[in-house]
Every structure is written in structure tokens, then in C-alpha cells.
């Protein structure tokens, strides 16, 4: 059966979505620059041009977007009334659009928990992939004027774009985009959950979680993975620190701007008792009011930068998980190898009759007498079986491990490049944002100066 595959079609959605560069793992980059000077039309054009060059490994092309969000109320698992938000996923085959038709998109509604389910499934099914993260469940790193309420419309809006970003990243991934469950998620509203559970991934999910949190020591750790794990820890720590401090900076900036609004009022009052100075003062006061008001937009735009950082904070977790999975495999391999070695030794002992290693059996047999040749024979046979099984197991595990390392490393390289690109974009658009803030500041104070000089 033909594997449906989905390709990236970036849409500039309702609220100035600026997605960093997204690419298939081995094809050209899609040149999306988070540049505020490009119009929506130009952005679309850029994408269109590069889309044509995308790889031919993808068979079906589809437009994907998370178009809307809506509040719903219903009964939950424990029969309690709850309010939640659902998101509208729209999909449309690209061919139809390029052929000049404009059919209505297919759509279905999904809530956040379903996205979570999808992601958990992907994590378990593709442990060697750095799986794209979801937008945060609860608002964190909030600067105080921003609402931490999940129902807050701004939060919902940012979550909508975050969910869309997630879908697009998965859809543009050379491995993940081919997943059947993913395709069903996008196209079948009902019954999707059941199908996912039928895959039995839940059991694997539980053991995965346990493994991730377990402590064990690997005797010969793979240097590359160890380094990568350290890096992922670093990345997590530094991005969360950055987000925290940035939120505090935003708080303070808000205060500075807002206090200037008081000038507006006092200049107005003062102008009432002045004859010649009055007009200049009054109009300067208006500029001060405008200045104070401008901070709201500034900080709203900065939230987008924070969201980009958050994505990589969560990506760092995913990266770490890949390393941990490898560690676990390595550990299991070492354990199995150890097991095999000890079994082989036991066999040798049985065969040669020498007790080289101290064992309780050895002691008891010394104390209570040797076994009969028949008993020994049975034991030997069991051991032989176990050894054969063990050797098979190790062979499989080794193959699995090598496969894992190969695939993981491919995806890690892809991820590294993506990360460098995306974060550089984020820094560029942050700088562009700051430039705009400075220009606005210069404008306001120049205007105010003009008013003052007319006093």
C-alpha cells in the first residue's frame, strides 16, 4: 500500500506566524526568513519557489494548518463538567490548489490531549528520532502582566500556532511524515484514538518512561552520545535560564514605559495654567501617552521569541531522551553480554568439572555431595539452550543497537543543522524587533522634543 507522505506547506496563518526554517532532512532548505520586512505575499512566493525543488521522495503533498480554536464543554472521564479548547486542523492536497481550483479543505477538531497522545506514540515508535515538541501545556516563564490562564485568548492563540508548528515539523520529517497514525490523526476524526491504542504502544510508553528515569551505569559508554547528553542538559539549562531572565526584563521594561504615561496627565494639567507654553506641553503629553501604550505591542511580539526559545527547551528534552535510549540499549547489551559470559563459564565448569568461580551451588555440592551425571547432563542442556538463545539475543541486540546508532545519528545531524538555522533566525528576528523598538523610541522622543521646543 502506498505510503502517504506529507510535505511541508508553510502557511502564514492569522497572527503573524513566523516559523523558522523547516526542511526535510536531506533536501534543500526552504528559505523562510523570519524577516518582518517581507510581506506575506513575498513569504508565500519564497516558499512556492523552493517547494518546487523539494525532494521527490514524498508522494502526496498536503496543505496543513491549525486554523481555529474553540471552547467546548463536556463531561470528562469522571463524569465532571469541564471546559476545554479544541483546535481545527485543516488539510488540503496541494495539487488541487496549484491546478487553479480552490476546494474546501478537509477538517477535523482535536484537543491538546490528542496531540499529546500522538506525540507519545511517535516517541515510543521512533525512539531514535528527536521528536518535535508540543507547545507548553501550561503557561510558564510568564512576566506578570501576561496571563498564566490556559483559557486566556492570547495563550490559546499562541498555542494554536505552536500546534500548527508541531504538525508542520512532523509532516516535513522524512521518517515521521510517513507514519500511518500521523496521517490518520490528520484525516480521521473519530476512532483515531482507538486505532492508536490498538498498536499497543501504551505498554512500551510506560516502560520507556521507567527506563528514562532509571539510574544505571554503562561500563563503556559511547563518547559521542555522552557528549550529546551533556549538551542537551546544557541546552535545557541555558534556555530555561534565558526564558526566566527575559521574563523579568520584560516586566521591568513594562514598568519603565508605563510610568511615562504619567507625564501625559501632568503635562496636560500643567498646560491649563500656562499661556504660551500650553500647546507645546499638551501635545508633548500626547506623545508620552503613545510611548507608554506602545509597550504592549512590543512585549506581545517578544512572546514569539520566547516561544521559539521554548521550542528548543523542549527539543533539548527530546534530544536527551534519544541519548538515554541508547544508553539503555547499551546497558541491556552489556548486561546480556555479561549474562552470556557467566553462562559460558558455568558450562565450562560443568564440562570440565572444575569449579573456578565461587558459587553457592559449588559450596552446597561440596557439602552435600556432587550431582549425578544425569542431573549434570540436564543442566548442561539447559545451559546450552540458554547460551544459544543468549548469543542470538546479543546478535539481534547488536544489530538493533547499530541500526539505532545509525538512524539516531542521522537524525541528530539533521536536528543540529535545524537547530542552528532556527535559532539563528530567532536571533535575527529578535535583533530586528529591537531595531524596530529603538526606531519607535527615537520617533516618539523626537516628536516630543519638537513639541517642547515650541513651548
Amino acid at each position: 500500500m502506498e505510503q502517504p507522505s506529507l510535505v511541508v506547506r508553510l502557511r502564514v496563518s492569522k497572527k503573524k506566524l513566523k516559523i523558522g526554517r523547516m526542511a526535510d532532512s536531506n533536501s534543500e532548505e526552504i528559505a523562510v526568513i523570519g524577516n518582518t520586512d517581507l510581506t506575506a505575499a513575498e513569504l508565500e512566493n519564497n516558499k512556492n519557489n523552493t517547494m518546487a525543488e523539494a525532494g521527490t521522495t514524498l508522494l502526496r503533498r498536503m496543505d496543513i494548518s491549525v486554523a481555529e480554536a474553540e471552547k467546548r464543554t463536556g463531561k470528562n472521564a469522571v463524569n465532571m463538567q469541564e471546559t476545554y479548547t479544541v483546535y481545527l486542523i485543516e488539510t488540503r492536497p496541494i495539487d488541487a490548489v496549484t491546478e487553479g481550483q480552490n476546494p474546501a479543505p478537509d477538517s477535523l477538531w482535536r484537543r491538546y490531549s490528542e496531540f499529546e497522545l500522538l506525540r507519545n506514540y511517535l516517541l515510543v515508535t521512533y525512539p531514535f528520532i528527536v521528536v518535535p515538541p508540543l507547545p507548553e501545556k501550561r503557561a510558564e516563564f510568564v512576566w506578570h502582566k501576561l496571563s498564566a490562564d490556559n483559557m486566556d485568548p492570547d495563550f490559546v492563540e499562541r498555542r494554536r500556532t505552536g500546534l500548527e508548528n508541531f504538525l508542520l515539523r512532523v509532516a516535513s520529517h522524512s521518517v515521521l511524515s510517513n507514519d500511518k497514525m500521523f496521517y490518520h490523526f490528520l484525516t480521521e476524526e473519530n476512532g483515531w484514538k482507538e486505532v492508536v491504542f490498538e498498536t499497543g504502544f501504551q505498554a512500551k510508553a510506560d516502560s520507556r518512561l521507567k527506563a528514562l528515569n532509571a539510574t544505571f551505569r554503562v561500563k563503556n559508554p559511547d563518547k559521542r552520545f555522552t557528549e550529546l547528553k551533556h549538551y542537551s542538559d546544557e541546552l535545557q539549562s541555558v534556555t530555561s535560564q534565558l526564558l526566566r531572565v527575559r521574563a523579568r526584563v520584560a516586566d521591568r521594561l513594562y514598568g519603565v514605559y508605563k510610568v511615562h504615561g504619567n507625564y501625559g496627565r501632568v503635562f496636560s494639567e500643567w498646560s491649563a495654567i500656562e499661556k504660551d507654553m500650553g500647546d507645546g506641553l499638551q501635545s508633548a503629553g500626547h506623545h508620552m501617552d503613545a510611548y507608554a501604550a506602545s509597550v504592549d505591542d512590543i512585549l506581545e511580539e517578544e512572546e514569539h521569541y520566547a516561544d521559539q526559545l521554548k521550542e528548543y527547551l523542549f527539543y533539548a528534552e527530546a534530544l536527551r531522551a534519544v541519548c538515554r535510549k541508547h544508553e539503555l540499549m547499551q546497558y541491556e547489551l552489556e548486561t546480556a553480554a555479561q549474562d552470556l559470559t557467566s553462562k559460558k563459564q558455568q558450562r565450562e565448569e560443568l564440562v570440565t568439572g572444575t569449579v573456578r568461580t565461587f558459587s553457592l551451588k559449588g559450596m552446597t555440592s561440596k557439602l552435600f555431595g556432587q550431582e549425578t551425571p544425569e542431573q549434570r547432563e540436564v543442566k548442561l542442556q539447559v545451559l546450552e539452550e540458554q547460551i544459544t538463545q543468549g548469543e542470538e539475543l546479543i546478535k539481534d541486540q547488536n544489530t538493533e543497537c547499530n541500526e539505532y546508532v545509525k538512524n539516531a545519528w542521522l537524525d541528530i545531524e539533521r536536528f543540529k543543522e535545524q537547530k542552528d538555522r532556527d535559532l539563528k533566525e530567532a536571533l535575527i528576528s529578535y535583533a530586528v524587533m529591537q531595531i524596530s523598538v529603538c526606531k519607535k523610541g527615537i520617533q516618539v522622543w523626537t516628536n516630543a522634543k519638537e513639541c517642547f521646543s515650541k513651548m
Binding site: E28, E29, A31, Y231, E234, L235, V238, T239, Q241, L242, V245, R246, R248, V249, D251, R252, L253, G255, V256, V259, H260, N262, Y263, V266, E269, W270, I273, D276, M277, G280, A284, D420, R421, L423, K424, L427, I428, Y430, A431, V432, Q434, I435, C438, K439, G441, I442, W445, T446, A448, K449, F452, S453, M455
Partner: protein, 435 residues
């Protein structure tokens, strides 16, 4: 100083004002017009004899001191070309003695006025001396608005009174004080002012104090004798109201400015933590190292720019506001004195209504009082007008200065961010080229 006929106007540095006896002095000569006045009006130049707002100066009643003062005000509005007295305060120096440590400032004077023996002077003065001068001016020119001095005592004990910033702020305020006095048509001719600028040993002069009673009305002390004021003329009532509201607004502006400085300082604290996080991150990255270092450097530059802005506002903006509050305080007390003088006159006028006194050529007590009131009102009105003018200029300068400082701050930040854009993008382009 003779009580002779007034000579030409002080536009060319001649002695006319000092030759006119002060209206409030005990002298009996009233202002007599000089035949020269008519001539000198044309010697001022092609400029029309009218006030800045276009109303012609009234020269028809030569006896009115206000017309003279109006003309003097005209002079002040002309550029420094006609100024004949320049004063500067600079070069602060610390003096350490066994008893105390204090700062002196160099007071430099350049003048063509003949009231001064030399064309140039340079003297070292300390705050005490300025304070003494101001008190003397208040005593000897009670009908005039005396500019304020910076506060004597250090605010809230937080500031180090020998720190560079504090000394500089004070120096600027003292400089402004002397300049305002030097620009005043009456105060600048005050004897104490002259001595302050020129004397080698000011302390000796101070000690002589009582011995140098001048005719400048030092004997005139205003007893706030509890006279009740009947009706305050509208314009003075308006002045009082204006000053009340204005003080309030200034207080509010001061509070706002302080609040802004505080918020900016706290913002700065966070920024100083924010920048280094980027460099910390850079150390664990490869491709991203340079961009992250770039951003870190940018934030550091913005932090420095912000620090400068906050310092400037503290040093230049707040002190001027506070100065004006002090100015207004002293103005209000002058207004009160005026009220008293008027009240005294009214009381005495009422009293004489019951008595029959012959009108002689010698001014009676009542007529003296009337003179006092009229002169006070005239002086005050003239000073008020020039004060309003100066206030307008001062605040225009102050607020445009504030706007400038803020603009400069943003320009510095803009330059910083713009400079890293090519750094951030260059690697990007290089990469796509090699693909």
C-alpha cells in the same frame, strides 16, 4: 552714588540705575526724568522700543519706574552683545584643613561696568559665601525675586557630598544662580554682589556688615505687623494661585522622574544578568557561538547606554526641578511681603481719614506707604514677567534636554543592534552559498 539726575540707560554700562535713588529709600527725591532719556532711546539702535510681545514702551510718564524697568527688561532680551557682565562658576577644588573639609569654586567675572574697578576678576568662593550673598540680596532687595540656591544640606544622606557628580550638580546650580543675578537689571548692581565677585577677602567684608549700610534700603525691614489685607489686586492674586498650582505640578513631575529613574535602574539590573546568559550559552555551541556572543555584546552596550541615561537624568533633570520649587518658595514669601506693605498702607490710609492733616510737599507717612506699595508692585510685576520668560526658556531647555537624552539612548541601542545584523546574517548567506 549720588542722588543726582539719572544719566543714560545702562545699555552701555553707565551708572544710571545706581544714580537713581531707590524709591523705597528715605530720600526725598523722586525720580526725575533725565533729558537724556529721550536721546538714549534712539541710541539703542534701529530696534523698536517695544516689549517682546509688541506693546510699545510707555515713555510718556518718565516718573514711572516701571517704564524704566521695562526698558531695562528690553536690554535683557537682546543678545549678549549688550550684556556687560559675565559670570562663570567652575573649577571645584577640595580644601582640607584641621577643622573641616570643604569645596571651593572659582568665580570668574568679566565686565565693562564702571561699578567695578577692574575688567576681570577671579575669586574662590564656597557654598557658605553664596548663601551669605543670597541672604544679603533678600535683605537689601526685598521687592525683588531672588533666584534660588541649590539645597544646603545633602538629600537623604545617601549622596557623598564630595563625589564628582554631587559637586558638578552643585556647581551648575551655583553657576545658574550667579548668572540669573548678573542678568537682573537691579540685582546685578547690588553692592553685595559686586563685593562677592571682586573682593579678595570676602570674610573681612562680611564682618563689616553693619558698618556698610547703604542707601539701598537696607534699613527698610518689613515687619509683618499683622495688618489685614482688604483686596489683593487681581494680578497678584493670580500670581499666587499660579504658583500654588505650578508647585504642585512640579512636585508631581519630580515624583514621576524619580520613579522612572527607579524603574530604569531595576531594568538595568535585569539587563546586566540577561546579557551574560547569552555568552554562557555561546560557550557550549559551535555555529551559534558568534551570533550568541554578538547578542550578548549588544545587550551589554544597551545596558551602558541606559546607565548613562539614568545618570544624566539624575544629575541634570531632577536638580533643576528642585531649584524651581525653591524659587517658588521664595517668590511666595515676596508676595506675602507685598501683601503686608499694601495692608499697612491701607490701614494707615484709613486712619488718616479721621484726621485732618495739611498736605505739604513733604510726603506724609501715608504717601510714603503708597509709594512703597506702588514701587513694590512695579518691581514685582517686572520681575514676574522676566521670571515667566526665564521659566519658559528654562523648561523648554530642560524638557528638550530630556527628549535629547532619551533619543540618544535609543540611537546608541539602535547602532548596537544594527551592527550585529550583518554578523548574524553573514554565516547564513555563506551557508546557503555553499549548498
Amino acid at each position: 552714588m549720588s542722588a543726582g539726575t539719572p544719566k543714560s540707560l545702562p545699555s552701555s554700562g553707565q551708572k544710571s540705575i545706581q544714580d537713581i535713588s531707590h524709591p523705597l529709600s528715605a530720600e526725598d527725591s523722586v525720580l526725575t526724568p533725565s533729558p537724556d532719556i529721550g536721546n538714549t532711546t534712539s541710541s539703542i539702535g534701529e530696534k523698536d522700543l517695544s516689549l517682546p510681545n509688541g506693546t510699545p514702551v510707555d515713555t510718556s510718564s518718565p516718573g514711572s519706574s516701571s517704564s524704566l524697568l521695562n526698558r531695562l527688561q528690553l536690554d535683557d532680551d537682546l543678545d549678549g552683545e549688550t550684556r556687560d557682565l559675565f559670570v562663570t562658576v567652575d573649577d571645584p577644588k577640595k580644601h582640607v584643613s584641621t577643622m573641616e573639609t570643604y569645596i571651593t569654586y572659582r568665580v570668574s567675572t568679566k565686565t565693562t561696568r564702571t561699578e567695578f574697578d577692574l575688567p576681570e576678576y577671579s575669586a574662590r568662593r564656597r557654598y557658605q559665601d553664596f548663601d551669605w550673598l543670597r541672604n544679603k540680596l533678600e535683605e537689601s532687595q526685598p521687592t525683588h525675586l531672588i533666584p534660588p540656591l541649590p539645597e544646603k544640606f545633602v538629600m537623604k544622606g545617601v549622596v557623598d557630598r564630595f563625589s564628582e557628580e554631587f559637586v558638578e550638580t552643585r556647581r551648575k546650580a551655583l553657576d545658574k544662580f550667579l548668572k540669573r543675578v548678573a542678568d537682573h537689571p537691579v540685582l546685578s548692581f547690588n553692592e553685595h554682589f559686586n563685593v562677592f565677585l571682586s573682593a579678595k577677602d570676602l570674610n573681612a567684608y562680611k564682618r563689616q556688615g553693619l558698618a556698610l549700610l547703604t542707601k539701598m534700603g537696607e534699613s527698610v525691614k518689613y515687619v509683618t505687623g499683622g495688618y489685614k489685607l482688604r483686596g489683593r489686586p487681581v494680578e497678584f492674586a493670580a500670581m499666587g494661585e499660579y504658583l500654588d498650582v505650578f508647585t504642585q505640578k512640579l512636585g508631581t513631575i519630580d515624583r514621576i522622574a524619580q520613579r522612572i529613574i527607579k524603574e530604569q535602574s531595576e531594568y538595568l539590573v535585569e539587563l546586566r544578568e540577561y546579557g551574560p546568559v547569552y555568552s554562557g550559552w555561546a560557550s557550549s555551541e559551535g555555529e551559534l557561538q558568534e551570533p550568541l556572543e554578538g547578542v550578548s555584546g549588544c545587550v551589554a552596550n544597551c545596558s551602558s547606554a541606559l546607565e548613562e541615561l539614568t545618570e544624566d537624568m539624575s544629575e541634570d533633570f531632577l536638580p533643576v526641578l528642585r531649584e524651581y520649587v525653591l524659587y517658588i518658595e521664595s517668590m511666595k514669601s515676596v508676595l506675602k511681603k507685598r501683601d503686608q506693605v499694601q495692608a499697612e498702607y491701607e490701614a494707615k490710609l484709613e486712619a488718616t481719614a479721621f484726621r485732618k492733616e495739611e498736605r505739604t510737599a513733604v510726603p506724609t507717612d501715608v504717601e510714603k506707604c503708597q509709594d512703597r506699595v506702588e514701587c513694590f508692585n512695579a518691581d514685582l510685576k517686572a520681575d514676574w514677567d522676566r521670571w515667566q520668560n526665564n521659566k519658559r526658556q528654562d523648561f523648554r531647555q530642560l524638557l528638550t534636554g530630556m527628549a535629547d537624552k532619551n533619543t540618544q539612548y535609543y540611537e546608541k541601542c539602535l547602532a548596537a543592534w544594527e551592527s550585529i545584523i550583518p554578523l548574524l546574517q553573514e554565516k547564513q548567506d555563506a551557508k546557503t552559498d555553499t549548498n
